[in-house]
Each structure stands twice: as C-alpha cells, then as structure tokens.
Symmetry: C2
Subunit: 507 residues, 2 copies
C-alpha cells in the first residue's frame, strides 16, 4: 500500500502558506493589516516607556502590479523604546520570536504581525525591508533584511551604524508590498480615527498615496501607567502551566510556590487553599506526581476564596475617557457607560467596559451600530463573529423596551493581559464563556439605565401630549363657561394647567 510522506515545516512557512489566518487575505485587507500591525507595535513600544506616542505612517505609490493592485511603499516611524540591535533581525525576520509572550496588557499578542507584514511584502514584491532603530544610546542601527521562509530565519543583507547625535529613540520600518489601497482606504481611515479616539495621548499622522495628510493630534499628554507583567491567576491555570511553573520554581515547598507564582495569593490564602486541597504546605512541588498535579489544577479552579484578579496590571479606558470619546464622536442625546469589575478567564484578568449611546448623531438603520475595541485597538472586520455581537444579538431587548430600529450605538472595550482573539489577524474575539458573561452583565446594566431614560422620556412625551390637549380645550371651556355663568373675567387657566402638570418645565 502506498504510503503518505511526512514532512516538517517551519512556523514561517506555515504562515506563508496560510496567510489568510493572519489577516492577509486579499490585497485590500493585506494593506490594512500591514498598517495596523506596525502602528500597534509602535503604540506598544512608546507606551512601554510611558512616552506619548508620535507615529508617522506614509504609504506611497510605487507602480501598478495588476489590474486591481498596486505596489506601495509603507513607512512607519515611531518614537518608542527602540529595539536593541541584537534583536532587530529576528524581531522582523523570524516568526514566533518576540517580546510579546508576556502576561501583560499589550496590543500585540502573537509576536507575528510585524513579521507577517514584512513577509507579505517580500512574497509580493521581493524587496527587502529596512529597519532602523535606536534605544536612545549613541548609535542608530539600520538593517536591510529578508526572511528565509523555509528556515524561519532573517537574512541580513546589509547593516549600517550611524551616530545618534540627538539621542533619538524609536523604530522606522520601511518596505514595499502589493495591495489595493482604494478598497482599503475607508477602513484604514476609520482605523486611525477610532485609534485616536481611545488613545487620546497619541499623535498619529498618515500620508496616503495621493499625498493627503490625515493628522490626529493628541488631546492630552496624560498617559496610563505602562502595563505590568503579572502572574497567572489560580482560576483557569492548566496542567501544562503548572508543570512549567514547577519546572522553573526555586521554591522548595508548596506554600512558597503558591505565594510566588500566582496572582493575588498571599500567605493566608495559600494556607487556606492547601488545607482545602489536603496538601502538606512543606511538600516540595517538584515531588508532586502527575495525578497530584491534575488534582491541584482542579482544586485551584474549585477553591472559592481566591481574591479576584487585581486590575492594576490592566489599563482600561475608564468611564470618563469612554464617555468623552463617545460624546465627541456621536454627540448622543443620552449616554450611559459602565465598567465591570475585573474578571478572569483561563487565568488571565480582563475588564469589560461598555457604553450605550442613544440619539444625537447615532444613525437608526434597523440594527445597532457596534464599536469594538480590545486593548485600545479598534476591531473593524468580522463583526458578526465577535462575542460582543453575539451577546448583543441574543439579548432580549424587548424586556428593556428597546427596539432595533432605535438610534443606538454600543461600544465595547475589552482589555486583558491576553485578549482571546479568534484569528491571528486579531479581527474578532472568541466566545469564551467568562468573557461572554461579563459583556452580558455590562450590557444588562447599561440597558436598564437606557430603559429608565426611555420610559421617563415616554412619560414626559405622554404628559406633554396630555397638557397639549388641556391647553387646547381649556381656554374654550373657560370662555364658554364664563359666558354661561354670565361672568366677564375668565378663570386663570395657567394656574390650572400647572396644577395638572406632573413634570417640571425642565422635562
């Protein structure tokens, strides 16, 4: 019988063969994805040092590629922390190599986006990428790179060292790629607009292929604290993670092991937990058997007294900023925002923030307008697959006296040390039950307040109508009764109208 032949491929080769799963599906999406991946790396690089980001993006036309696609040169400059020259080639020329594999809130999570952009440029135009970076030290390093896709290694074609007179720090990436800007244009502009909305401390400049300049100027230099790396929360660790921790721990007993490797587990909690799970506090974690590790994992999930995750490692927008952002964009008649307490899924803390805007410039189009953000990234594609969309669709809106044709916009922001994206292209968020629950609760809370506003407004409307009727007929009745009674002076209708009015004039 003929046999199948087996082979191993590199991670780089995998994403080359399957670029769709990284968001580089077609020429229009590829150009969108390349820009956003690099912008997000730049934002992360600036925020990590609490530097107000200055990001300059230029896309220039280089020539026609086919009937529908063109060759563009993309240049992205930032004033971030820069990259040590030792790491530059791999950071842009080796897939699954990066600084993003940490438990902290970052835009990037896969260590993939920047490389995919460079890789896509290479396979469509076969030109090298140019990376220039400095960490502020006296030298600036400049690399000319390509990727050896089969071996998943960078190929350094040239390397230059320049003097850094002005202590510049940041990174400049420049490469060519095939794309369809015309079709990507509206999404790219929307991306910059929404990014500016939730990153009000950033300067974003975009020069498009026609030379048009789009500038989003920072409204504040107040910055959130740089995201902190955090330990995993005991709820939702799996056996693999436990084993890795046991492998690397310097701690010789269970008590210290628990206190040092888990988020918000102190002495008291650790002792209580060990009692709960019948483990000897002085037991050496490296001596745990396979079965004991599995039991430990289950007990970590079952124990009720762990503290909820600490939000200090997360950097939510906050209700004020969310309110300001939505008000500025939509000028709604009514706005409610709600921030949930930190929750956790699979050991990762996360916070859901949600706003509902009604009326004003919110369009009523037969369905709600939904804005989705994750770690301050706007998500613009594949809305219908996103967990937020599902929660919103499955909600019993009639209970809140809300109908789909009302002018309602819903904004959902999820921030986490690890956002559960469903695709490597970060288009939408997976339907994790814990995340779903938090969104649903936030949504219900906001919907209740919206209902309150709507029913009050309805009362006011009814009242207005009622008063309108009184106001119309009372003068006639007054006139008529005065005539009937043979009186000259009409009764005071104003006072009468006021006495039946339920709501003040402000209503």
């Amino acid at each position: 019988m003929a046999q199948a032949t087996f082979e191993e491929i590199s991670a780089s080769d995998f994403f080359y063969r399957n670029r769709d799963i990284a968001g580089f599906t077609n020429p229009s999406r590829a150009i969108f994805a390349a820009i956003r991946e690099l912008v997000e790396n730049s934002l992360d690089a600036a925020e990590s040092q609490k530097i107000p980001p200055d990001i300059y993006v230029r896309l220039s036309f280089e020539g026609e590629a086919s009937k529908d696609t063109q060759i563009y040169k993309l240049r992205v400059e930032d004033n971030g922390c820069g990259i040590h020259p030792r790491y530059i080639p791999s950071a842009f020329g080796q897939v699954l190599y990066g600084s993003k594999y940490k438990l902290k809130q970052m835009r990037g999570t896969f260590g993939l986006g920047g490389k995919m952009a460079v890789l896509y440029g290479q396979i469509t135009t076969h030109q090298p990428a140019y990376i220039t970076s400095s960490t502020g030290l006296p030298k600036i390093y400049s690399f000319k790179l390509m990727i050896d896709i089969q071996r998943n290694r960078p190929i350094i074609l040239d390397r230059k060292v320049l003097i850094n007179k002005e202590q510049w720090h940041g990174t400049i990436v420049e490469f060519t790629l095939e794309g369809d800007y015309l079709r990507a244009r509206s999404k790219i502009l929307e991306y910059f607009k929404q990014t500016a909305m939730v990153n009000p401390y950033a300067n974003l400049t975009f020069v498009d292929p026609k030379g048009r300049l789009y500038k989003f100027t920072r409204a504040t230099t107040d910055m959130p604290n740089p995201p902190q790396e955090t330990e995993p929360h005991p709820y939702g660790v799996d056996v693999e993670l436990l084993q890795r921790l046991i492998q690397v721990t310097p701690h010789k007993n269970m008590l210290d092991f628990l206190k040092h490797h888990f988020h918000r587990v102190g002495d008291v909690t650790a002792q209580k937990f060990l009692e709960f799970s019948g483990l000897n506090p002085s037991k050496n974690p490296k001596k745990l058997s396979h079965e004991e590790i599995v039991r430990l994992m289950h007990n970590l999930k079952k124990f009720k007294d762990f503290l909820p995750p600490d939000a200090s490692c997360l950097s939510p927008l906050g209700e004020e900023l969310l309110k300001a952002g939505i008000s500025k964009e939509l000028k709604p008649e009514y706005l409610v925002v709600h921030q949930r307490k930190p929750a956790t899924y699979a050991g990762h803390p996360f916070i859901v923030e949600l706003g509902i805007a009604y009326g004003g410039e919110v369009p009523s189009k037969g369905s709600f307008t939904i804005y989705r953000f994750a770690n301050r990234i706007p998500l613009l594609y594949d809305e219908a697959s996103d967990v937020s969309f599902r929660v919103i669709s499955n909600m019993n809106w009639r209970r809140y006296k809300v109908s789909l044709d009302m002018p309602i916009a819903i904004v959902v922001h999820i921030c986490s040390t690890k956002v559960p994206y469903k695709t490597v292209g970060k288009e939408f968020i997976a339907d994790r039950p814990e995340v779903r629950r938090e969104i649903a609760n936030a949504l219900r809370e906001a919907a209740r307040q919206l209902q309150h506003f709507l029913s009050k407004r309805e009362h006011v409307d009814k009242e207005r109508k009622r008063l309108g009727i009184f106001a119309k007929y009372l003068p006639k009745i007054a006139q008529f009764s005065a005539a009937l009674a043979g009186k000259e002076k009409l009764p005071d209708i104003e006072r009468l109208l006021k006495s039946v009015q339920k709501y003040g004039d402000e209503a």
Copy 2:
C-alpha cells in the same frame, strides 16, 4: 532605558497559548473540534487509498471536571491507510509536522488538527494519548504519547508491537479531554449528518456518552478517485514559490522549467509565454536575477493564454450527488444546482458548486438557510464571517424577485487543493476575490433559474385565479343568457373555459 526581552517559542507552544485560533475556544467547541479533526483525518486516510471509509467514534464519560465540564474519553477508529510506525509519534505529537502539506484536495490542510486535539486533551486532563496503527503489514504498532509543548516534540512513554493476523489497516486514536458534550451535542450530530450527506460512501458510527448509537450507513461503495497532487497553476504564484522551485529544479533551461513545474503548461504554451515575457527559452532558471524573478511572477499573472486549471485533481460532489443530497434532506418543491468551471486563486485550482432549494421542508424564517461545505467538510460555526454568507447577503435579491422571507436554502460547496480558511479551526472561508467571484456567478446563475420558476409559478397562479373567476361566473352567465334567449340547452362552458386557458392542465 529598560529594554524589552525577546524570546522564541515553539509552534506547539504558540498553539497552546492561542488555542482559540485553532477552534478550541471553550469546552463545548473543544469537544466538537476534537471529534471533527480526527474524523476528517480518518476520512482522508481512507480516501487516499480509495477504501470506503468505516469510521467508529466513541465518546465516553469519565467523570466530572467542574460545574459545567466533564472528562471524556474519545476513541476514533478508522480503516484508512494507516501510518508507518516511524511517523506515528510526530504525526500526533509534533505541531506543523504532517502529510498534509501537499497541493491536493484533502480535508486537513494545516497538519494541526489531530495534534491540537491531543494537546488539548493533555493540558486539560494530563493523560497520555494512545495511538495504534498498521498499514496492513504483519505488525501493528501501538504508542503511548505525550507532547513536550515547549520543545514541540513527542514524548514516547510506551511502544508495543502486535501481530497483525488479519492484515488490518487503519488507525485508532484514544485520549481523554475535558469538554461540555451537552452543549456540543446538537452541533456534533449535525456534523455527522451533514458529513454523511456529502460522503455517501462512508459508514459513520457515533456512540455518545449516554451510550446512544448514531449510525450513518453508506449508500454506495462508488468512491471518487483519490485526490491527485498537482503542480501550482501559473496564475497566482508568488516570488517565494518561484524561488523555491528554482532552488529544487533539476531543469537547466526556462522551457523545461516551465513545462515541468506548472500546472497545464505544455511545450506550446511555455514557448508562447517565454516570447510574451521576452525570456530566452534556453536561459538557466538558476541564473535569473531577483528583478527577473519578480518580473517573471508578474508576467505569469498577466499572460492570457494559460489553460484554466484542470479539474482532474479536484473531486467535486457533482451536480447529481448534490441534487440527491439536498433532495433527500430538504424535499424541496423546486431545486436548482449549478457547478462552476474550475477557477484558480493564488495558484490553487478550486470549484464552486451551489444549489438553491425552494419550498418543501425548507423553513421560511426571515432569512435563507445556508449550508456550507469545503472539501466535503460541513462548516457549522461562524457562518456570518464566511465568504458565502457575504456573497449571499450582498446579492440584490429583488432583481430576481426573491425576498428573504421565502423558504429558501442555499448550499455552497467549495473544493480546492487548498481551501482558504480564515481560521486554523476551519470554521469559515476567507474572502478571496477569486472565490467570491465564483460563488457570486454560481449564485446568479441559480437565482436566475429560481426566478424563472417563481415567475412561471406566479403566472400559473394568476391564470388559476383568472380561470377560477371565469369558472365561477360563466355558469351563471350561461344560465342567465340561456333563460333570456329562451333556450333549453346551456352553451358548452367547458370548451369556453379551455379556450381562455393559457397553460395546460399540467400547470
């Protein structure tokens, strides 16, 4: 300035950290994904040898894991080609290792599904997986395996060799995993049902945790020919692929190079193309400069006279089977199916087959019912992100006198040597422009025929109404006029009615 630390992670580690992108999002989807990945491997293994597949799947309850999840043992047995013992450990214990990295129509494409299932089982239950396989030779090999996730290598815990008295060939996979069968149940049963529908030559048996047996018996032993490996089509190759071909080619001149490495390029076409692109036929491909390779890639895309891809490497369902499948399931009043000619995207041939069913058991629910298949796999999740859904939604149905509340079901099957899935979990197909165009054309063709049927039916309905009116009043008129004229015998109304009838009795 503090510096970011960089690290490299293994492919296995990448998917462990990002299991959402491989379809293992939550306990319900994980159990669905594990079953389908293994069933699809089994179907591929049988079809590759033209063996009518016999697949036995058993899911058994092993204990409670948490409030909502249980531990299950999953066993999948097939009668496929089996795996050579040398490859077994890596085939199930090493991510990005496999037999699926070929240009041929297969269900599996990522070389990932089976490993993800085993990996998910390991991180949730920490139990090893048992793989037993034979290629029909005198020995059966049985492995007890785990995965070293950080190194992306299998760990062989035990290995047994048995005598294969009955020349059995096939593979048995057994492992435990955490999951939520109750919530996954309806999708799993739907998956088996739809799989049986498009694989009528397969026996599928599923025993669920309650011991309920679901059996789908084959309706035929006629099998499609095993999928053939094929060369890339010249439209849509990229620079990387060209370079790889140039690296490995034994051919010393461009003419031979083109003839031997590209799909449907013969002597005449190759010569014409070389003339078109101004290349010397005797030039050694290994001597091409970077610029020449890029120009070659563009010219391959531009040249108009390449033959369309040959469908022989694809195994579509065919209009007959599609018709039979839909008729059996939906018993529609009207059914039209349409198979497109083979097309190509990024060098991969593909065929779109589409059916529209009207009435019968098709529900009318305010939107169309959509069935999606890719290489005979039913796609059950994330419908709204699928290219088919988008094409269907964006279609101007009014032009075809079709409204969304009609009882209409649309079945789309895409088969290809490489289906452009958007997620590693194979939930939906990316919006590639070439694929979109083929679906749209198939849809328009089918919609036109549906419109024809509907308008004919409308005419018939109108006619019936008209005749009904005549039939109602004519006898009265006849009676009345006969009385007026003083005649005994009424005129022959039947003949009169027939004379105004536009459609025969069969209408």
